[in-house]
Structure formats: structure tokens, C-alpha cells
């Protein structure tokens, strides 16, 4: 069988998601953001939510998320995405509202908004990209940076005495009554990508069914910030990040709607 015979429209099993914009992303080669964007675009298309979705973009590398996924977006001030999402979901409860935030946005400047939105049990889905570093501003230490990890502001490695301990914010959110689903996933292998897709789908379903706040943490790489190649970053993530941020469900939803 020749390649021309295989490459026919009826044999297509995978192509660029329809809701992903044609323009190229500004992300570095191998950045996990691209994979998560792709998953969201696929899911919104598959679930038929194109016209009833409001995304809330953060400040950080994903600040231009609204340029890449072809649904309605609101750009929030740094860390305030859960507060903006609260308004968006309360004013139009029929819509799916999700936030897309990095660790600097969700776990540092936006800790108060994140915790209180989750504690109120707002019917939103939070997608949390945790790569343990401030990628956009040049690789400074984030609250989620691992002990011993070298960054621009911790050139000798993070120490507990000077910088405190890495913040497992998803574990904190899982203890709140308002959250219904908290999970930690990754996108380093095809199998992990499929699991993350299933997790984000569940989070979107929870938001639509008014079950409370869902949090999907995606342990990610920042190969530019970590000063490694994309493939090496994935290896480093498996070796080091998963020890502090083990994958799996931290809290699973009950079937009853909360309000």
C-alpha cells in the first residue's frame, strides 16, 4: 500500500482541532501549554460547547490563550481569573466558565482568589499549569519551585530556610468543601495526554452540572526556564517533579449537585 493510498480523507484518524486558531503559538518549542490548549480545543468541539463557553485567561505565558482557542475569553488581571470567572458563571449560569492559569498566577499572586472561589464552590473549572517556575518573566522562583531547584532568583537552589517549602496548592484546595473534583495530571506521554483530556472533560461536566469547583493541575515542563531540551525536561519532570507532585485524583466528585 502506497503512502498516497493511505493519505485519503476517509482514513484520517487525527488532525488539528477545528477550534484551534490557524496562527502559530508564541510558546517555546516543546511547551506543555500547546498540548493543553489542543486538549481544550478538542474537548469544546467534541462536547459542542463552542457557543456557550467563556474562558478566563491569566497573566503569564498563557496570557495570549484567547488568541489560540476560538471561543469567548475574558482577560483577567494577574491572579484574578477565579474572581472574574465567578462573575461570568453567576451572571450566565448556563455557560461553561473555565480559568486557565499558571503557578505564578494561581498559586502566588492569586492565592486568595483561588482559595475563596474554590471555598465558595463556584461552578467553574480551573486548569492549573504547574511548571515550578515563572516562565514568561525569565525563570524566577515560583511558590511551586522544588527545593534545590536553580532559578534566576535562587541561583544556588531553593532552600527551605530562605525561601520556604514548595506549595502543594491542589492538596490545599482538595480539603475545601467547595471543590468537587481535584486531580493532578501531566502531558509528557500520549497516555498521560489522554488521561488529562478525560480529567478536563470531567471538570467541564462538573461545572455544567453545578457540582462545585473542579481543579485540574497539569504538572508541566518549562524547558526554557529549566535550561533543558524538551525531551530532557520531560525526563527531569518524571524524576523530580512527580516526587513532590504525584499524579492522580486528590478528590473525586459525588453525584449530587451542591446547589
Amino acid at each position: 500500500m502506497t503512502t498516497e493510498e493511505i493519505i485519503q480523507p476517509q482514513n484520517k484518524v487525527y488532525s488539528r482541532p477545528r477550534l484551534l486558531d490557524e496562527r502559530d503559538t508564541h510558546y517555546c518549542p516543546g511547551c506543555s501549554h500547546g498540548v493543553v490548549h489542543k486538549i481544550i480545543a478538542e474537548l469544546l468541539d467534541e462536547m459542542g460547547l463552542e457557543n456557550k463557553t467563556v474562558g478566563v485567561a491569566p497573566v503569564g505565558c498563557a496570557v495570549f490563550a484567547y488568541n489560540y482557542i476560538d471561543v469567548d475569553w475574558v482577560e483577567a488581571a494577574h491572579g484574578r481569573a477565579p474572581a472574574v470567572a465567578t462573575a461570568a458563571s453567576r451572571l450566565n449560569p448556563q455557560n461553561l466558565v473555565f480559568t486557565y492559569q499558571g503557578d505564578g498566577d494561581l498559586a502566588a499572586i492569586g492565592t486568595a482568589e483561588t482559595i475563596h472561589a474554590a471555598n465558595r464552590g463556584e461552578n467553574i473549572a480551573m486548569i492549573f499549569i504547574n511548571n515550578g517556575i515563572y516562565g514568561m518573566t525569565g525563570g524566577q522562583m515560583a511558590p511551586t519551585t522544588l527545593l534545590g531547584m536553580k532559578t534566576a532568583t535562587t541561583p544556588y537552589g531553593r532552600t527551605a530556610e530562605l525561601n520556604g517549602y514548595p506549595l502543594p496548592i491542589s492538596n490545599i484546595l482538595a480539603t475545601l468543601d467547595g471543590t468537587c473534583y481535584v486531580t493532578r495530571q501531566a502531558v509528557h506521554t500520549p497516555a498521560a495526554v489522554r488521561k488529562t483530556k478525560a480529567a478536563i472533560k470531567k471538570a467541564f461536566e462538573n461545572a455544567l452540572a453545578k457540582r462545585g469547583t473542579s481543579v485540574v493541575e497539569v504538572v508541566s515542563t518549562c524547558n526554557s526556564g529549566w535550561k533543558l531540551s524538551p525531551a530532557k525536561s520531560n525526563e527531569w519532570m518524571v524524576e523530580h517533579m512527580f516526587e513532590k507532585y504525584p499524579l492522580g485524583d486528590l478528590k473525586t466528585p459525588s453525584e449530587e449537585p451542591k446547589n
Binding site: 500500500m1 485519503q8 488532525s15 510558546y27 518549542p29 498540548v35 506521554t189 500520549p190 525531551a231
Partner: protein, 78 residues
């Protein structure tokens, strides 16, 4: 036994040469261009061993720039 044929079409202009598809491929189909670069200076991925492709879409699943299309044909014995 059914025989599976696959093929990939890579958008070389969009590819950033991150190498993740090459690592993800279970049958060593893909490689990065050793010398050639695209408009932005990246060594883009290409199908070096297209006959080995089984159309599993592992490469396309991990591609952060969504520049891989995958086709698959399952040939069943008559």
C-alpha cells in the same frame, strides 16, 4: 492477521522542532531534519521511515503545535 498501515503528514512550516514526536513514536518513524530548517530556523520533523508507521497518533497527541495529521488503514485478510 489484520495489517495496519499508517501515514503522517507534518506541517513543516508550523513545526518548532521540539523533538517530542520523535521520542513518542513507538516505531521510530520520525526524525528531525539534520540540516534543513524552516522559515523560522527550526529543524522540523519529517517521516524518515514512513513504511514503519502504524497510524497510532502518538506523535500527534504529544505535538504542542498540532502540526501532525495521522491517517490509518486496517487491511483485513480476505
Amino acid at each position: 492477521m489484520a495489517k495496519v498501515h499508517g501515514a503522517v503528514v507534518i506541517d513543516g512550516k508550523r513545526c518548532k522542532g521540539c523533538d517530542l514526536c520523535v521520542v513518542a513514536c513507538p516505531t521510530d518513524v520520525l526524525l528531525l531534519q539534520p540540516k534543513e530548517v524552516n522559515d523560522r530556523g527550526y529543524h522540523y520533523a519529517y517521516a524518515a521511515n514512513p513504511d514503519k508507521c502504524i497510524g497510532c497518533a502518538a506523535c500527534a497527541t504529544v505535538c504542542p503545535d498540532a502540526c501532525i495529521e495521522v491517517y490509518r488503514v486496517v487491511e483485513r485478510p480476505a
